[in-house]
């Protein structure tokens, strides 16, 4: 949108709108974040390292990242199927189904949390089918995965869907006329073109899952070393007035968020390059 005419912009309000933006951003976001990093300086490197590598903390990282990864993989697979269905097929009630996909964006996480817990608890609508198999879902790591699937699904569908709508079907026609089976065409022609979008959706779902709290606390059972995710451990430490431990963990989570944000930005750049190419 940058044209040479832009150099002499006659529009008013640049100073005040930019000034207001920067002041508001600084007060609400930047100063509190900087304050958190400064707090860790008071702990010292040694204390910080001990706080973020204790066995209970390491167990929480393993659970948080493991469950988020599994949930994001499941969401990538089923999210692609749902996006495919919504773009390529027409069926009655399609608009309703399409709108339902956004439910996890709109439904408060605490509501999702208690609903999923009641469903997957041993006597619940879904849990009772798994009970005879000796499989417990609620109050185990499996329950955490269930909650994270709920939270992450729209990220994959809403990233893949517009790309699927955008790509033209000519290469698919060519592949079909050249004798490729439909599965071969999807595998070799369609999938490579939506791979950047699928990866971005996967990364968004993963990033959201790593920080998720509300939907997980109810279904996880919150047992230290077993079903305690890192965000919950931060809350626990705060409730025990262990401010240093909570701060150190928060800084680790913040650094992870920054890395994930950066990777997602790079992925999105890859995605838009693929689309314009």
């Amino acid at each position: 949108m940058s044209t040479p005419a832009r150099q002499k912009n006659i529009l008013p309000g640049f100073g005040i709108s930019l000034g207001y933006t920067i002041i508001y951003l600084t007060l609400i976001v930047l100063i509190p974040l900087a304050g958190t990093f400064l707090k860790t300086a008071g702990i010292g490197w040694h204390g910080f390292w001990l706080a973020v590598t204790s066995p209970r903390v390491v167990a929480s990282y393993r659970l948080t990242f493991g469950a988020s990864l599994i949930a994001a993989v499941i969401n990538a697979i089923f999210g692609l199927i749902v996006a495919w269905m919504l773009v390529r097929y027409s069926f009655p009630g399609k608009r309703l189904v399409d709108a339902l996909v956004d439910l996890p964006f709109a439904l408060p996480t605490a509501v999702a949390g208690i609903a999923l817990t009641s469903l997957y608890a041993p006597g619940g609508w879904i849990g009772r089918w798994f009970e005879p198999l000796g499989l417990k879902i609620a109050f185990t790591p499996l329950g955490i995965v269930v909650a994270l699937i709920f939270i992450g699904l729209p990220f994959v569908v809403r990233t893949v869907q517009p790309v699927l709508e955008e790509i033209d079907t000519e290469p698919e026609e060519a592949a079909a006329t050249l004798g490729a089976s439909r599965l071969q065409t999807i595998r070799h022609v369609v999938l490579p073109r939506i791979l950047p979008a699928l990866t971005t959706g996967f990364a968004l779902a993963f990033a959201r899952a790593v920080g998720e709290y509300g939907s997980v606390v109810f279904i996880s059972g919150n047992m230290p070393m077993k079903t305690e995710i890192t965000p919950l451990l931060i809350v626990t430490k705060l409730e025990e007035f262990d401010y240093r431990g909570a701060t150190a963990l928060a800084v680790v989570m913040l650094l992870i968020s920054f890395v994930l944000l950066l990777s997602i930005n790079l992925l999105q750049r890859w995605m838009s390059r693929r689309l314009t190419a």
Binding site: M1, S2, N9, I10, L11, P12, G13, F14, L18, T21, Y24, L25, I28, V29, L30, I31, P32, L33, G35, T36, L38, F78, I81, R88, F91, R95, V97, A99, V101, D102, A106, L107, P108, A110, V111, I114, A115, S118, L119, W125, I126, F150, L153, E172, E173, A176, T177, L178, R182, A207, G211, Y213, P231, I234, V235, A246, M253, L254, L261, N265
Partner: protein, 297 residues
Amino acid sequence: MAGIATTLIRTRLVAANRPLTGDPAWIRWLVMSVGITFLVVTLFIPLVAVFTEALRHGLAAYFASFTDPDALSAIRLTLFTAAISVPLNLVFGVAAAWAIAKFQFPGKSLLISLIDLPFAISPVVAGLIYVLMFGAQGWFGPWLHAHHIKIIFAVPGIVLATIFVTFPFVARELIPLMESQGDTEECAALILGATGWQTFWYVTLPNIRWGLLYGVILCNARAMGEFGAVSVVSGHIRGLTNTMPLQVEILYNDYNFVAAFAVATLLALLALVTLVLKRLVEWHASRQEDSTQGALS
């Protein structure tokens, strides 16, 4: 050879009445049944469960849940919090989009990334950073204590945490929209003698109204539904610092399931209304786009 093969296959495909890019019936059937089953199990059943659990002991028990003064004060606090945080983020979003979309300046992409930052941060951490600023152990804790100002474990902390988690909604909706619209119409208005304020009010605002509304709807849904960040700063004082999602948690942990799900139905209804409004706005926005494109061509 290849030419003949292609022709033969095309003939066969056409003869079989199979479109070249459509999926065969069995793939179609498989994808549809897997996709629909997945959506029903992961999204639809949990939504239904909220209402059935709330109505488990009948309508009387359901409505009795709302006579609890703590539930009513939670509803009031949620509305109050949204009524402050949404307008603040709305004004910020418009100002940020005006500066970023209509002007060129160094550091612009950094500014956009910083505005998006709150979406990347865990809600628990979002709450914690305010505890570390204004809590008893925080940077301003002693000063606030000396002046008898309470922010953490009080309403101001809840409002601040809500502002943080809903910070980017309006801005990230408006920035790409205003960038795509450019500044020709505004420049025309100014040349014709409109003041800056008139230009914004009569030219820019009508152009961005659907995007603005879209951002506000999403911002409001998150503001009313936020749990993690608010939970950290609230202190869970019944009747004073509990929002609706926190009230749901307290009731649930007290094994008062019907009441917990009753409050949850209000939040679920809010989510459904949000989804409907969102669809309506998307529909209006696409119609507006079509009509402007029609007018230009």
